[in-house]
Every structure is written in structure tokens, then in C-alpha cells.
């Protein structure tokens, strides 16, 4: 099979172009370790959460490493694409956080709760709010419930939809009682950890499988000999340390079997 980017005759580094969504020291570490494993990795960072996939489909990059399976399934379904997971990386700890309240029960009637506005993560937030007992979602709505699928909202909670990366800014907003967000999204200066969550998503539960972030490529490229090297790179001690440092321990490294990732994806794509 054709090697991605073509292997150098002399058997030197395999060039690998990966799309991601935010530059970080963690990426530098991957590049550094990848070199030892025989990979010449370049990251291109998009702020748009859609283009890393289209760039992949169009062959402009070899892989991407920014999305969870739920998001990926939506993308594949809507665009008829076949982006396929290669291996799992992490899962973020999402939870319900409030500056004003110690428990979900004390969130008052008519309160405003900030949630992400993209469909996959909005649904995810609904589940967390359901776990918190704030509202109920139609069980038939599947993994991607929308606002209309809320069957019960006894406290008349108003959901304030914000861009994914802005949700944390609402934590301190006086007009918002709580936020649903990834713990590692907070400003470290606030010192917020998973322990502060009123409700925390269970990262190890089967229901969280859709939220595992994966490295993915095109279906016709899953057999590339670079992938084992890349996975090795991600599992390398130094990379793991860098990642944990960056996520302040608020992301769990997961090694989820690739077959299961793919079957989860297949299931979600039926939704």
C-alpha cells in the first residue's frame, strides 16, 4: 500500500500531517517523541471544528486528533464520509459546575445554565443535566437529543448556548447559575477540579464511550504502517506526562480497543 506522503527510500522519517484544534506544548512533545519513532509529524491547528475533517477527506492531512466519536459520527453521517478512528487518546471530565450552589438541587427555578452550542456537546450537556436531576430527556431521542427532546423541565431552566470554548467564561457570570463544561476548560487560576463538580460525567461508564477522543483517518488509509508508530508515540511516557500536565489531570487517558471505537461509531451513525 502507498505510504502516506511516501516513505523516503533511505528509510528515514515518515512525514505525517495531523489536523488539530489548538496549538500546545503537548503537540511539541508528540513531534519530539514521534521523531524517535521514525515519524516527521506536523500539526495544523484549526479553530473551526469542521475543517480538520474536511481537510482529512480531501487528503490535505493524514489524520486528525481533536474529536470524540460522537462528533465524528455526526460528521460522517451528515457528509457521507468515512473518517475512521485509529486509536483512543483521552476523555475529558465534563461536569456541572456552579459558583453559587453546592448541589444541583439548590439550582433555583428559572435559573440560566450555560451549555455548549454545538450539537454533539449540547446533547452531552443534556445528559449531564439529566444526571443532575435538573431535567429529563426523551429516552427515545438516542445519543443526540436536541432541545425539543426535553420532556421535563420542572424548574424552567433556561439553557444558554455558548460557543464550546466560551462556556467556562459564564461560570462567574452573575446571570448564570451553573455551567456544563469540561473541567480542563477552566482557567487554572480558578483552581476548579473535578471535585468541585455538582455532577460529574462517569468517564468509565459505557455511556461515555462516545466521548472518547480519537485519532482518526480516512477509511482507505487505516492500514498505513505509520499508525502503530503514532499510537506508540501517544502512549509514550513523556507524551502522557505532557498531556496530564496540560490537562491538569482533568482528562483521563483511555486505551479503548479500536474495534470497539469503530463499532460505537457505527452505532452512533445509525442514530
Amino acid at each position: 500500500p502507498r505510504l502516506l506522503g511516501g516513505e523516503d527510500e533511505t528509510g528515514e522519517l515518515i512525514p505525517l500531517h495531523i489536523a488539530d484544534t489548538a496549538q500546545s506544548d503537548f503537540q511539541d512533545k508528540i513531534v519530539e517523541v514521534g521523531k524517535e519513532k521514525g515519524l516527521d509529524i506536523t500539526f495544523t491547528n484549526f479553530t473551526d471544528p469542521y475543517l480538520p475533517n474536511t481537510a482529512l477527506i480531501e487528503g490535505e492531512v493524514d489524520a486528525n486528533s481533536f474529536q470524540h466519536v460522537a462528533w465524528l459520527s455526526q460528521f460522517n453521517k451528515e457528509t457521507g464520509s468515512d473518517v475512521t478512528p485509529l486509536f483512543s487518546t483521552v476523555i475529558s471530565s465534563w461536569g456541572l459546575f456552579s459558583e453559587d450552589h453546592d448541589s444541583a438541587d439548590s439550582i433555583p427555578d428559572g435559573a440560566r445554565i450555560a451549555v455548549p452550542d454545538d450539537p454533539a456537546n449540547f446533547s452531552r450537556a443534556l445528559f449531564i443535566l439529566q444526571t443532575a436531576g435538573v431535567l429529563e430527556v426523551d429516552p427515545d431521542a438516542g445519543v443526540f437529543p436536541v432541545e425539543e427532546d426535553i420532556t421535563s423541565n420542572p424548574r424552567n431552566i433556561e439553557l444558554v448556548r455558548l460557543a464550546h470554548e466560551s462556556v467556562q467564561t459564564a461560570y462567574e457570570d452573575p446571570s448564570v447559575e451553573a455551567v456544563v463544561v469540561a473541567t480542563d476548560d477552566f482557567d487554572p487560576a480558578l483552581g476548579i477540579t473535578s471535585d468541585d463538580a455538582l455532577v460529574l460525567e462517569d468517564a468509565s461508564a459505557e455511556s461515555s464511550a462516545p466521548y472518547i477522543i480519537v485519532v482518526a483517518t480516512r477509511a482507505d488509509n487505516v492500514d498505513n504502517e505509520a499508525w502503530p508508530l503514532l499510537e506508540e508515540t501517544y502512549r509514550d511516557e513523556r507524551v502522557v506526562t505532557a498531556l496530564e500536565e496540560e490537562k491538569r489531570g482533568e482528562s483521563t487517558i483511555v486505551e479503548f480497543p479500536v474495534d470497539q471505537l469503530r463499532s460505537t461509531l457505527a452505532e452512533l451513525s445509525q442514530e
Binding site: 457528509t79 460557543a163 457570570d173
Partner: protein
């Protein structure tokens, strides 16, 4: 509406249109005042001008040049504490107004300046000769002589504000641009995205038409 759009979709677009209009009009209102005043002073403090003052000119330039390079999205976020103190919230359309106003003000200041330097020095000299005060010369003569171009410039900024509100969506400002982005684009709902863009184009067409129409009466 046709089958293409559900009633709720149309509702959503209506609300977003309203949010856009709200953010843009309020911030445009304040920015016009602040921006024109800034622009007039930027002009008047130039060397050889009626209020020539190197220190003030350099100072104003510095303020404008310090605010302009801050990417709007960062300005938006950097201002959240201020907005929060001011309005009690930093999310929603109202919260976008302060950053929009600041960005538009410095924008207007610069574009206005480019219109003001074209004013015939003879008109200014005549105003001095009739004993008008510097501020009166500035607002009543310099500004008045450049009114046609200034109206075109204000129209330009008005439209630029519509664009900026799309970014303001990031802090929950809502608005058409944000709706197109989140609802249309992220949900792969190209129909609604196109609908929104058509609404935006219609809006901008009307604004520009109005701007041109008013300006025509003042273009000499």
C-alpha cells in the same frame, strides 16, 4: 415559508435578526458619536490644523492604535469582567455591545480622519475668519463639509458591525451570523445557513442603499 424551513427555524431566524439589529444599532449609535469625535480630534490635532497639538495627537493615535490591533474576539473576551460589572452579565446580546462599540469607535475614528483631511483648507480658514470657536469649526464646519463622505464611512462601519456580531455570538450574543455558524454550518443545515445569508444580504443592501441615498444629498 415553504417546507424547507420549519416554523421554529423561521422563529429562530427572526430572533437572531432582532438580536443582530439590537447589537448593531445600539453599538453603532454610541460608536458614531465616540468615533466621530475621536476622528475629528485626530484630524484637528494634526500639525497645522486648528487644534494642532502634538502631544494630544500622538496620545489619541496611541489609544486608537492600541485598541485596533486587539483581535475583536480577544477584546470581546477581555472585556467580559467590565461588561459583567456594568450590566450584571457578560453573556447575551447586551454584553456584546461594549466591545462592539469600542471596536467600531476606533474604526470610525480612522475612516472619518481620512475623510476629514480632504476638507478644503479654505473652508476652515473662512470659519476661523468669522470667529468660530475651534470646536464649532470642527463640528460645524469641518464635519459639515465632509458630511457626504462621512455618511458613506458610517455606512461602511455599520455593515462591518454586522460582520462583527457573528463573532459576538461566541459570548452568547446570538445574532444572524452566529446562527448561521452554529445552526446552519455546524449542523450541516445549509438551507438555514443560506436563508440567513440571504437575510443578511438583504439587510446590508438596505443599509447601504439608505446610506448612499442620504450621502447623495450631502455630496457636493
Amino acid at each position: 415559508m415553504s417546507d424547507l424551513f420549519s416554523a421554529s427555524t423561521v422563529d429562530r431566524v427572526g430572533v437572531a435578526l432582532w438580536e443582530t439589529l439590537f447589537m448593531v444599532s445600539v453599538s453603532f449609535f454610541f460608536a458614531s458619536i465616540i468615533g466621530l469625535v475621536l476622528g475629528l480630534f485626530l484630524f484637528a490635532t494634526r500639525s497645522g490644523q486648528i487644534l494642532a497639538n502634538r502631544a494630544v495627537h500622538v496620545g489619541l493615535n496611541l489609544v486608537v492604535n492600541t485598541l485596533r490591533p486587539i483581535p475583536f474576539i480577544i477584546l470581546l473576551i477581555a472585556l467580559t469582567p467590565v461588561t459583567r460589572n456594568l450590566l450584571g452579565t457578560s453573556i447575551g446580546p447586551a454584553a456584546a455591545i461594549l466591545p462592539l462599540t469600542i471596536a467600531a469607535s476606533v474604526g470610525i475614528a480612522r475612516v472619518a480622519e481620512s475623510n476629514l483631511v480632504a476638507v478644503d483648507p479654505g473652508a476652515i480658514e473662512a470659519a476661523r475668519a468669522v470667529g468660530a470657536k475651534p470646536l464649532h469649526i470642527l463640528f460645524g464646519f469641518v464635519g459639515r463639509e465632509a458630511l457626504g463622505p462621512l455618511i458613506l464611512s458610517l455606512t461602511f462601519i455599520f455593515v462591518a458591525l454586522i460582520d462583527a456580531t457573528a463573532v459576538a455570538g461566541a459570548v452568547g450574543g446570538g445574532g444572524l451570523g452566529n446562527l448561521a455558524l452554529t445552526y446552519g454550518y455546524q449542523r450541516f443545515d445549509y438551507a438555514i445557513m443560506l436563508l440567513i445569508i440571504v437575510v443578511l444580504i438583504a439587510l446590508v443592501q438596505s443599509v447601504q442603499f439608505l446610506g448612499n441615498w442620504i450621502a447623495r444629498r450631502f455630496i457636493q
